[in-house]
């Protein structure tokens, strides 16, 4: 069978599975809709968290980025895994003990103020919307390349599937679909990696393979460093970014991970506090399988790619090269008219540009793996994008129906009314996300990476201080969140979108890039919160008791009524 038939078969099978699970596990109460009735097993929750977390960016883009940036790509590897240590040790157990439905719930109750709740809801919506638009775009990309349908129709198909199981199943449906999606995506990621590792190094384990010797007896990494030097690129295993910036970007990604509402809310779904700790451990283990394989794929793909194209005849290029050329993601311009492909760092002589996003998708074709493996990668990419999109849509819909409608506008709403509101807001959110996916404004791509900075600058300090500093009061927390997110937005707009006078790399404050600035904004949030709280009244006795209570694991309730 050809690639396209295989892709239709595998995508069709996996989609049927997701819909079947959604029908089997549909939600019947708000508790089930928001937090799956708080009865999810820690391993199932770990699997779901891993799928929720690993988006189109992790599956499709990350290995490609590492492949092109070498050591500098480490910021994503450490940043997007190290955050789970913070989550497990500093947030998950206490937030589960607190036992409500959403992150703004915690902020609103802990800081005894609806203003704090509104600030938190606003931050949650900004972070989630910027993130979800990117996912819908990823769905469209996979559809258009592998099924050769129009990219907009691809987005619409993705919308329909997400709509079906997120609206019907709520958190319960999403959780069990995500378990299935994790299995699909990890299988799809590992199979080609193992195949290629055996092909290139004879080692079955890719994590060890990329430190092994190739068929010519030279260490693969040494060979790649040599190739890079020859073509004028910086050495693969050492970086080109400043150390300070690498440090700050890694920190912003870690803290941002721990502050993302769609990740935090997953820890509300388990039965007890010790299960919240356990599921954070399982989640990171399942994530680490993909994250330790990605740098291996990066090295294999980079070496293979350079050896296939560099100084070879353009007319001899393999089929994948021509196919990706059609999408415009590979471009070749024979500047010196010698009919050979010159791929070098010097932009005046370089004749080939390759979009990093295609590396994972093209990798099995570059390595000449069987057609079903190539189709599997497409199904895996869709699983990654859909699972994250569903998790984000749930955060958006619960922010609207629970935090805004139930807690602020109409506290007297019935359980049924709230459930209908939750489903309606999910529908609206899917439509908005799909619209962004079809008409991506320029700033979406830029802001997805910055969603982490925004989460780090707003939520993280307020939650940490709320748990670890009993005397933190509403004045301090609100001031900190507002200053943190505004500062981050300002820096982002100034240096990413050229507003407020714009500025180039040389104008960055202390040489820190917008991606790393979340760390600075987070520290300023902490400092502002502490100073303001020092000059304003301490929180009421009752709130201090709540803090004492969330610090011990015993007495966690089941799905709490409100």
């Amino acid at each position: 069978m050809d690639i396209q038939t295989w892709t239709w078969v595998l995508v069709g099978l996996t989609f049927t599975l997701y819909i079947a699970i959604a029908i089997w596990s549909r939600a019947s109460s708000t508790g089930e809709f928001y937090v799956a009735g708080k009865g999810v097993h820690p391993i199932a929750n770990g699997l779901a968290t891993a799928a929720d977390w690993m988006s189109a960016a992790s599956f499709i883009s990350m290995a490609g980025l590492i492949s092109f940036n070498g050591y500098d790509g480490s910021v994503y590897l450490m940043g997007w895994t190290g955050g789970y240590v913070l989550l497990a040790l500093l947030l998950a157990p206490y937030l589960r003990k607190f036992g409500k439905f959403t992150v703004p719930d915690f902020i609103g109750d802990r800081y005894y103020s609806n203003t704090a709740r509104i600030v938190a809801v606003t931050c949650a919506l900004i972070v989630s919307f910027t993130y979800v638009a990117g996912q819908m775009r990823g769905v469209g990309l996979v559809f258009s390349r592998f099924l050769e349908v129009n990219i907009d129709i691809g987005v619409l198909m993705g919308m329909f599937i997400v709509l079906f199981y997120a609206v019907l199943g709520g958190m319960k449906g999403i959780t069990y679909t995500q378990v299935a999606q994790y299995c699909v995506l990890i299988f799809a990621f590992m199979v080609p990696a193992i195949f290629i590792s055996i092909q290139m190094t004879g080692n079955v384990i890719p994590q060890l393979g990329f430190g092994d010797t190739g068929t010519d007896g030279v260490y693969l990494l040494d060979k790649l460093d040599g190739l890079h030097k020859e073509l004028g690129f910086h050495e693969y295993t050492s970086g080109s970014k400043s150390k300070l910036d690498v440090f700050f970007i890694t920190a912003a990604l870690m803290v941002g991970t721990a502050g993302l509402p769609h990740v935090i809310v997953r820890f509300f779904t388990v039965k007890k506090v010790s299960d919240a700790r356990k599921s954070a451990g399982w989640a990171l283990l399942f994530i680490a399988i993909l994250y330790t394989t990605a740098p291996a794929i990066a090295v294999f793909a980079r070496t293979n790619m350079i050896e296939t194209v560099s100084n070879n005849k353009y007319e001899d290029m393999p089929q994948w090269f021509k196919k990706w050329e059609l999408t415009g993601l590979i471009t070749f311009n024979d500047k010196n008219n010698d009919g050979l492909v010159q791929y070098v760092a010097d932009t005046h002589r370089n004749e080939l540009t390759i979009d990093p996003d295609i590396m994972v998708l093209a990798n099995p074709e570059i390595a000449r793996l069987p057609n079903w493996v190539i189709a599997l990668v497409a199904a895996g990419g869709l699983a990654a994008a859909l699972s994250t999109a569903a998790g984000l849509l749930l955060v958006i819909s619960s922010s609207i129906s629970h935090d805004i409608i139930k807690k602020i506008i109409n506290p007297k709403i019935t359980e049924n009314g709230e459930l209908i509101a939750a489903r309606l807001s999910a529908v609206v959110a899917v439509i908005i996300a799909g619209w962004f996916g079809i008409n991506p404004p320029d700033f979406v791509a830029a802001t997805v990476a910055l969603a982490f900075g925004l989460a780090a600058a707003s939520f993280f300090p307020a939650i940490i201080l709320g748990i670890f500093y009993k005397h933190m009061n509403k004045e301090g927390a609100i001031a900190g969140m507002v200053v943190g997110i505004l500062l981050m937005l300002f820096y982002m707009m100034k240096f990413k979108f050229d507003w407020f006078g714009g500025g180039s790399k040389d104008d960055w404050w202390f040489g820190i890039s917008p991606e790393g600035f979340g760390t600075v904004a987070m520290f300023i949030n902490f400092i502002v919160s502490l100073i303001i709280s020092f000059f304003t009244p301490a929180p009421p006795e009752k709130v201090q008791q709540i803090v004492d209570n969330i610090r011990i694991p015993s007495g966690a309730n089941n799905a709490q009524e409100h």
Partner: protein
Amino acid sequence: MILKKYIIILLIQTTIHRMNTTKQQKYWKENLKYLAILLSIWFLVSYVFGILLVEQLNTIKIGGFKLGFWFAQQGSIYIFVILIFIYIRLMNRLDKKFNLYS
């Protein structure tokens, strides 16, 4: 007589309350100690080995891997996973010791 009984009950209650508070404080202190140790290791393997001292460690090679590069792209992630599972064990033991498990 009634007053005496009342005072005794009150005394017992405050003692229980104080015992509970000190028990909770001890539990919390122990927890913070674990956090400090585990987060120091977290910082060491990622920020120190993977970023700050990466060139120095890169002079050491294990197989085809330069050590600093390995920590940044592999080692730190393995240690993160191990750290969380150690934390789970430590806390489960602590919960039992203080009889505070959920």
